[in-house]
Amino acid sequence: MAAEPGSIGVFFGLDKDALKELHGSDAMQKLRDSIDGASDVVRNFTTDSVADSLIAALNAPLMDVFSRGWKTLGDLHKYCDQSKYPAGQINNYALTEHVISWSHKPRLRVVLNGKPCGPEIAFDVALKLTVSAASLEIVDAKIMKAATGSVQGSGSIACAGSTLVEKKVSPITVPGTYAFGDGILIGKPYHSAAAV
């Protein structure tokens, strides 16, 4: 499964070669040992299977990481007040340099002949992105579009304490504007001006 452009997986440059450390990890070793009754070919293939699944799990757009980070910005919640920011009003919100820290734990499970074998494999994915500037378009308490300046950062993927992939990204310019489709809801719209 190929990673989509602009995904977390692409950020890490994930492919089979990038995850070659995975094969020798303790987690995979335990996993292979726990597979009984299968040939070495099958057991060795678990690494490829897990790597493919990890790439699939990290196929989320990197912009989701940004939007989830921007949502946490408390200052944006004022756009939920429709008395001040009526429906249909387009609001642009500009951010100077900021840092978005992200971590999540995808978990995978190997199934042999329909039966789970071995423990679940948990990965620690961590990202720390520094965005030089960002412009958000907010309509109806939703982030509809975003445009960013240059982005740099680092990230790592670890499994059972051992780092599998470590990535550092030099400042890159993300061209154009990214649309979020139906928008990313900042909060529930309301009409109470006093609440602000």
Partner: protein, 338 residues
């Protein structure tokens, strides 16, 4: 995102999988056939040396080799024990044998040397006269108290071709008539075996024998005694241990057949595997897949920092009916509204 992701690895270790059922059935049938044939072959194994001798001496007659062992103590001349002893052999060897070249017309006159019970005189049966000359037949008939009558050829060389009643019929009274059909023959059969000199026919014990009765037949060559009959009768019955080798060969053949069947059943599909290569699960196929239990995105922790710097905010309102409603600009976030 929680879906089965991964790949399936299949290992096909069988050859001709579609025909596997038929091959199995065939091999099973072969096994069953082997099992069935086992006892039959063991029985047919028989005494090997005996049958060899028998085949050499009496082709065609001794079809059942199990009859061969001469265990009644004759140990020499089979004729003696089988002649008139009709209660033991019941006419098996009497008269003409199945092999024409082995005819033993005097067999019935041989004394019972085998120690078998002598039939009581009141239960005697007619002997076989076939092959005898007129005089010989007359003499023998007299011994048995039969009234002989001859039909057919009157030649001196004529011999009895058939008799009525036939051999083995109970002589129920004295002077019972018996008729012989005589046929002239060019020469006497060469394989006539004379009666042993010391063997006196049973009827002689009851009545004095005619002078020609004790003497060997005039036309029978003396050397005939060493001919085909001794080939089998003089052969010492082989010892029992001689039997096993052939049985062993048969058992070995059966074992080889069974091994072959087992190989057909189980060994055919097996491929040589390198050391440490585990056999895959039954069915020869392993399905390996990796499922994404959770992408973790929903539980991701995200924080935003360093955004407290002065910011620039631009607000504008969509125009309705070519009238713009509001436009607001703020710097540093300190001012809301227009």
């Amino acid at each position: 995102m929680h879906g089965a992701v991964g790949a399936v690895v299949s290992e096909e270790t069988s050859i001709g999988a579609p025909g596997r059922g038929g091959g199995f059935a065939g091999a099973l049938a072969f096994l069953i056939a082997l099992m069935i044939s086992l006892p039959a072959q063991a029985q047919m194994a028989g005494p090997p040396m005996n049958t060899q001798n028998m085949r050499g001496a009496m082709p065609g007659q001794m079809a059942n080799p199990m009859m061969m062992p001469n265990n009644n103590g004759m140990n020499g001349n089979m004729n003696g024990g089988m002649g008139n002893n009709t209660n033991g052999m019941n006419g098996n060897m009497g008269g003409t044998m199945m092999n024409p070249s082995m005819r033993m017309p005097y067999m019935q006159r041989m004394p019972n040397q085998g120690g078998g019970a002598t039939p009581p005189s009141g239960q005697r049966t007619t002997p076989s006269f076939v092959g005898l000359t007129r005089s010989e037949a007359s003499a023998l008939a007299a011994q048995y108290g039969l009234a002989a009558a001859f039909d057919g050829s009157t030649s001196e060389n004529a011999r009895v071709a058939s008799q009525a009643p036939e051999a083995g019929v109970l002589i129920f009274r004295s002077a019972m008539p018996i008729r012989f059909q005589m046929e002239a023959q060019a020469s006497r059969p060469p394989a006539q075996t004379p009666a042993p000199a010391g063997a006196a026919p049973e009827p002689q014990a009851a009545s004095p024998a005619p002078p020609e009765q004790a003497a060997p037949l005039p036309s029978a060559p003396p050397a005939a005694a060493a001919k085909p009959a001794p080939a089998r009768t003089l052969t010492t019955p082989p010892a029992t241990p001689a039997t096993p080798p052939r049985n062993w060969w048969i058992l070995a053949a059966i074992a080889a057949g069974l091994a072959g069947a087992m190989w057909l059943l189980f060994g055919w599909r097996k491929k040589p595997e390198p050391a440490g290569f585990n056999t895959p699960p039954a069915g020869g196929m392993a399905q390996l897949a990796t499922q994404i239990v959770s992408t973790g995105l929903a539980e991701a922790t995200v924080s935003l920092g360093g955004a407290a710097a002065p910011r620039f905010e631009l607000r504008y309102v969509v125009e309705h009916d070519a009238h713009s409603d509001q436009i607001g600009i703020s710097v540093g976030g300190g001012k809301d509204g227009g």
